[in-house]
């Protein structure tokens, strides 16, 4: 039961049609603030902004192929306490899925929150986006969609999309109240808006949007997109498994890690308020380093690199949504997204869990059953 509304003739492309939708939401929809990505006036980049003034929507571009950060972290900050008045957040599918995980970890709240999901064809890494966008970022966004509709590995200006996006099998938002559709659509026309929940439907009625059909080419375009992405993903899994198939290979994979912990900072689901690796526990006594060095005659500094990464896997792999912000943030170009996604695929399968799938599904480590996993404690002698 979904209802699709199409914007009116005032709009000439997908971006302006979305801006008008947001304007109506703020003016007539009872939404007091809108969290949405926009092109910053002072820098050629896209960042989430919290907008209350309907006249401040000119630079808003929810489709820009740029993912500076996973906005789920920002939504978590906004909803740490339940919201007093309705707020709408415009998110990519990976951001919604990360936010679902945070809500389950009690680091976010869905009350009074309207989630607007945008269908997503992928994005560039933070270093590539400014090169891609050039001086006319809005026009660049529209150009990107023309090319990207053709498939996930399409290059524009010779730049490759982020690997996380090429491997993403979730281009369509899940758990959203409203979905803005771009798959298979002509970006030079208005974007379609579909209500997926009662909350979303009520909002569309309030702002007087009418029902209409989704673009006719959508199904075929989506099928093609999924096929390409799953093929890319499976190839990535196979290559990463091979590249890290034992601890020695893992050490070589992570050899240029400098313990900056950027992957943890950028990770939307690394949920600890204070990471143990930055506490006194790892502020070792100077003599300790010498004792360690003496043991094998050599000690790699800084220490605890593989220890950190495997421990982090034990923390976040069950909640990993594969957004790729870890790779986006790595200063040394280590393919951490590939590694974490590959491990997450395995651990989530072990527990029959999929991060971000459902708000009602308990995170595996927050629950247990009395009779389960007999193989873990089985006696072998």
């Amino acid at each position: 039961m979904s209802m699709t509304a199409e914007s009116t003739i005032r709009e000439n492309n997908a971006i302006t049609s979305a801006q008008l939708l947001f304007r109506d939401m703020l003016l007539e929809g009872g939404i007091t603030a809108l969290l949405v990505a926009q092109h910053l006036p002072m820098k050629n980049t896209v960042m989430p902004t919290l907008i209350t003034d309907p006249d401040e929507l000119r630079a808003v571009d929810p489709f820009a192929p740029c993912y500076s950060m996973n906005t789920a972290k920002v939504v978590s900050k906004l909803t740490r306490k339940s919201l007093e008045s309705p707020i709408a957040v415009v998110l990519r599918p990976c951001e919604i899925r990360a936010f679902v995980e945070l809500v389950k970890l009690k680091q976010g709240c869905m009350d009074n929150l309207l989630v607007v999901g945008t269908e997503c064809l992928g994005a560039y890494g933070n270093r590539d986006y400014p090169i891609f966008a050039g001086s006319e970022p809005m026009a660049a966004t529209l150009r990107f969609y023309e090319k990207a509709q053709g498939g996930t590995t399409a290059t524009v200006n010779g730049l490759e999309m982020a690997p996380a996006c090429k491997a993403c099998e979730h281009p369509v938002p899940e758990n959203a109240d409203l979905v803005i559709g771009v798959i298979g659509a002509d970006m030079n026309g208005p974007a379609s808006v579909t209500a997926k929940t009662e909350k979303g439907k009520a909002l569309l009625e309030k702002i007087g949007r009418e029902q209409s059909a989704q673009s006719s080419g959508r199904e075929a375009a989506l099928a093609k997109l999924m096929e390409e992405r799953i093929a890319y993903r499976d190839k990535m899994f196979a290559e990463t498994v091979e590249a890290t198939s034992d601890l020695e290979k893992l050490m070589s994979y992570l050899g240029n890690c400098i313990n900056c912990y950027n992957c943890r900072v950028a990770c939307p689901v690394c949920y600890c308020r204070e990471c143990v690796f930055t506490t006194d526990v790892f502020d070792h006594d100077p003599a300790q380093y010498l004792r360690w060095a003496k043991k094998k005659g050599v000690l790699k500094m800084p220490t605890d690199t593989v220890f950190y990464h495997i421990t982090r896997m034990a923390h976040m792999s069950l909640a990993c949504v594969g957004c790729g912000q870890c790779s986006n943030a790595c200063p040394n170009g280590i393919h951490v997204m590939e590694l974490f996604r590959t491990v997450a695929d395995e651990t989530q399968r072990e527990f029959g869990y999929e991060a971000g799938r459902s708000i009602s599904e308990d995170p595996p480590l927050s629950t247990f059953k009395e009779n389960e996993f007999p193989e873990v404690t089985a006696r072998t002698h």
Partner: protein, 140 residues
């Protein structure tokens, strides 16, 4: 490899397995001396990073042992530990750490004989696996 003596780090709960180990000792049961025991209040507080650290430091195996289901002094710490061990095994398996190097058992306070038998069996198993190669390699 006949002279290989494995080092096994055991995280045991105060209420059941530690008491069982104590009983095995006071009953003068023969058992190999390869186990370095760390007494925890509950297996539910065995942080995965303790196990990871032990293996990265070159321990040949890790044993986590607590009360039988239903007997946990803290009601269900052992059942939470079981999920963490399952997760750890899944992660470490990816990096070719043999899953026999991480063992979880339930040994009740009165089961001194079981404790001795499990330790004996585990030492035999780990000897067959051979030493943890990280004992000598530089770990980053």
């Amino acid at each position: 490899m006949n002279d290989f003596e494995p080092v096994i780090i055991a995280f045991v709960c105060n209420w059941c397995t530690y008491t069982a180990a104590d009983l095995a000792g006071t009953s003068r049961l023969m058992q190999p001396s390869n186990v370095r025991m760390i007494r925890m209040m509950c297996t539910g507080m065995v942080d995965p990073k303790y196990v990871i650290k032990a293996l990265l430091e070159g321990a040949d195996a890790v044993l986590i042992s607590g009360c039988h289901p239903g007997d946990c002094h803290y009601i269900n710490g052992n059942l939470k530990a079981r999920r963490r061990v399952k997760l750890l095994k899944a992660i470490l398996k990816r990096f070719a750490v043999d899953e026999h190097r991480i063992k979880m058992t339930w040994i009740g306070a009165s089961e001194g004989i079981d404790f001795a038998a499990i330790v004996t069996g585990m030492v035999k198993e780990v000897k067959a696996l051979g030493p943890n190669m990280l004992r000598r390699t530089m770990v980053i």
